[in-house]
């Protein structure tokens, strides 16, 4: 049963929303995004530090490691507001996804070394777990292997689609061990690491990571053994919900901009928003926005109420599928309704389309979430009938 938020919690959430919105508006804009893209800058360490000072980077980190351990609803609110302003810093990839894996690790020494530094904005981490176009479906084995040698554990293989790419301080790398899975901490300057960095559509970066017998430092195992898959899956599920929240922020703003344009732009002597063909399509976009919101709220309620891992995965995939589809629909329609100006680099609406594309592809797009959901349900039914 869902536990509703108290009035006090709701007010607290509103304060956080305002703070995040103020911060994001101050540190992100269309012109800043374009200039950063044109100069080839991945993200801004100075802004990252200010995000840490504001407490945003500590949201998913437990209190015993200098974190704030904010409730899921708060983390989602941050993601939504950062999405709305197209903040380019890797909040989701590092402060949510990587931090959540580490928080779930059973290596306290490593956590003490990494998590407080992450909360302070001094250490940026990435997760290198994908190897194929559809790793989220979860039915592919790992080609990257962890080998026990006389020097210690070494990693060999190719990881793909690592966000935010090479400009991090270290990576959590997944690899097949002897009949199991392991997650390892790899500092970015480790010998045998090579990044092949590419631009994302929105100007951000993503990298393929080649590991040539990279030696794991002592005490740098994040997690091995039977719990490893569960730690990774739990972090993926949380990241999916947070990515959904970011997509909601993106699509809300894109829809607002489009409605403003429909009210303002005159053709045939009247605002184009008075034409019923466009009005009805605008309502379709609004409906998708509301559906995305309630599906994310359902997922957050599952997380709050301590649902089973299976139910969390189902709710997370449902929210990510809806939000990805909704954001892509809104962004595409936003471009269409803006007409030619929307196709120019100069207008901000194109930036929203690009970010929607980038975040809907992250950790599995809508169609892949449906496949994941269907596969999980099949397994679920199997269990129930067993």
């Amino acid at each position: 049963m869902e536990t509703p938020l108290s009035t006090e919690q709701t007010e607290e959430l509103q304060l956080l929303r305002n703070a995040a919105a103020r911060f994001a508006a101050q540190h992100s804009s269309g012109s800043r995004l374009r200039s950063r893209r044109d100069r080839g800058i991945e993200f801004d360490r100075a802004i990252w530090k200010q995000m840490a000072d504001a407490g945003f980077l500590a949201a998913a980190i437990p209190e015993e490691f200098s974190g704030l351990n904010l409730p899921f609803d708060h983390r989602a609110t941050l993601a939504e507001e950062f999405g709305r302003a197209l903040l380019a810093e890797p909040y989701l990839a590092s402060a949510v996804f990587a931090a959540t894996i580490l928080a779930g690790s059973d290596n306290p020494a490593l956590k003490r070394r990494l998590l407080p530094a992450m909360a302070a904005g001094e250490l940026v981490a990435a997760v290198a777990w994908e190897e194929r176009f559809d790793s989220i479906i979860g039915n592919c084995g790992l080609d990257t292997i962890a080998v026990e040698t006389s020097r210690g554990t070494t990693l060999r293989g190719l990881k793909r689609f690592v966000r935010p790419g090479a400009m991090v301080d270290g990576l959590i790398v997944s690899a097949a061990t002897d009949g199991d899975v392991g997650l390892y901490w790899v500092p970015v300057d480790s010998a045998g690491l090579e990044f092949k960095t590419q631009r994302l559509a929105d100007g951000g970066t993503v990298a393929d990571l080649i590991l040539r017998d990279v030696l794991i430092a002592p005490d740098s195992t994040v997690q091995v053994g039977p719990n490893c898959a569960a730690v990774l899956a739990a972090a993926i599920d949380e990241a999916l919900v947070m990515a959904s929240a970011e997509l909601l922020g993106i699509l809300r703003k894109a829809l607002e901009m489009t409605l403003d344009y429909l009210r303002m732009r005159q053709q045939f002597g009247k605002p184009i928003g008075s034409f019923q063909a466009l009005q009805h399509r605008a309502v379709n976009l609004y409906i998708q926005q509301e559906l995305a919101e309630v599906s994310i709220n359902d997922a957050l309620a599952e997380f709050r109420s301590g649902a089973t891992p299976m139910d969390r995965s189902l709710a997370a995939s449902r929210a990510k599928a809806r939000s990805s589809d909704a954001a892509m629909l809104v962004a595409r329609e936003a471009l269409q309704m803006h007409g030619a100006i929307g196709f120019t680099d100069e207008h901000d609406i194109g930036l929203y389309l690009k970010r929607a594309l980038v975040q809907s592809a992250w950790l599995g797009n809508a169609a892949q979430q449906r496949r994941r959901y269907a596969a999980l349900r099949m397994k679920y039914r199997g269990h129930r009938h067993a």
Partner: protein
């Protein structure tokens, strides 16, 4: 009189659920279309005898006096069990209106007979030239001594052939702005000058009628509220019930049918089908979540926002998509006019197909709903 609100919500839900399980005829759960009065009057009587026919009315008028939250539970349980809708326009429209705006004499005359089922009401709103643009209605009521003389024609009047009374909107001022010249009248269908003609639907059922009014005398005492105030009263009646035009059960039930049919046919081995099925699962789950959001507001007794129509739009269009997929799965059997043998049972695909047609039209077509949302929520011009 029982104080239902003394129960906590869970106990109340259990009690209502048990009542439906024990008393509602098992062979009439989830009917494919609405029942006529003679098919459902036993159930009406059962509800009446248990004091449960008017869950939303105050106890002093013979209702259950439920709080908004409990009323939602009552209706949810009714839907969950697949209880057929009884002819309820007296219960959800006339009763609440008379309680709010009627005279003592009107309450005296009509309320008890609505509860007992002695009077069955139908709704005289739409006209041949006033559908989506209802305010342009032309049925006229002219004052003549103690009576209005009413002339005109109503259409799409659901189950008028089973009704004893009709509430209607009629024009009482031809010169005023169209919304400001309309009055709300109550008519006994036995009054001379009223002719009712059934209209068959494409599904072959006579669910609605035409009602012709030729010099029909409606006594002035049957005017509800003030003259020319009918439009606003009719609008205020479209409150709570609109929530249930967008309730989640119709889609959830259709999904169960789809799943059972697909399983039987082995369709879950087809990746394309699985993707479409999963998409519909999300559409239904997200709809239920959206419904819950609105129901929470209504349950607190607050006014529902202007974006409520999106619930009806999404509910009905999702239902249509589910039924489309069922008909597609049915393949060669999808065009049979009657039940088709299927596994150990038989399925009437065509009745599902027909059931999916009027949902996007009634209660305000989805196009009108979109126009309303565009203006009142998105603040688009024109």
């Amino acid at each position: 009189m029982r104080d239902w609100n003394a129960l906590d919500e869970d106990s109340f839900r259990r009690e209502v659920r048990t009542f439906f399980e024990n008393h509602y005829p098992a062979d009439r759960r989830f009917p494919p279309h609405r029942y006529r009065w003679n098919q459902i009057k036993d159930w009406y009587q059962t509800l009446y005898e248990h004091g449960m026919i008017a869950p939303g009315w105050p106890t002093r008028y013979g209702g259950m006096g439920l709080s908004p939250a409990k009323l939602i539970i009552f209706i949810e349980e009714q839907e969950r069990h697949g209880v057929a809708r009884v002819p309820d326009l007296g219960l959800v429209m006339v009763g609440p209106l008379l309680i709010q705006d009627g005279s003592d004499a009107q309450r005296q005359e009509f309320l008890a007979k609505i509860l007992s089922g002695e009077n069955i009401w139908c709704q005289g709103y739409s006209e041949p030239n006033a559908g989506s643009d209802l305010a342009s209605l032309r049925t006229a009521a002219v004052l003549d001594g103690e009576d209005f003389i009413v002339n005109g024609q109503k259409i799409w009047t659901s189950f008028a052939q089973d009704a004893t009374h009709m509430f209607l909107l009629a024009r009482t001022d031809a010169d005023a702005r169209k919304q400001d010249g309309i009055s709300f009248l109550l008519a006994d269908l036995n009054t001379p000058g009223i002719t009712i003609r059934e209209i068959n639907t494409i599904a072959g059922h006579a669910e609605f009628c035409e009602v012709f009014l030729d010099d029909v005398r409606v006594p002035v005492k049957n005017l509800v509220g003030k003259i020319n105030q009918g439009w606003n009263m009719a609008k205020s009646l479209l409150g709570f019930e609109r929530l249930f035009l967008g309730g989640p059960k119709q889609c959830q039930f259709a999904m169960k049918r789809l799943e059972a049919i697909a399983r039987n046919l082995g369709a879950f081995n087809d990746a394309i089908f699985v993707d479409r099925f999963t998409q519909l699962q999300f559409d239904v789950a997200d709809h239920a979540a959206l419904y819950a959001r609105f129901a929470k507001v209504a349950g607190r007794g607050e006014k529902l926002g202007p974006d409520l129509p999106i619930l009806k739009i999404w509910a009905t269009e999702t239902f249509v998509r589910i039924v489309d997929l069922i008909i597609e799965l049915a393949g060669s059997a999808g065009a049979n006019a009657g039940p088709v043998a299927f596994g150990e049972e038989s399925i009437e695909f065509i009745s599902l197909f027909y059931a999916a047609r009027p949902v996007t039209i009634y209660g305000g077509s989805n196009e009108i709903q979109r126009t309303i949302v565009a203006k009142s929520v998105l603040h688009l011009p024109g």
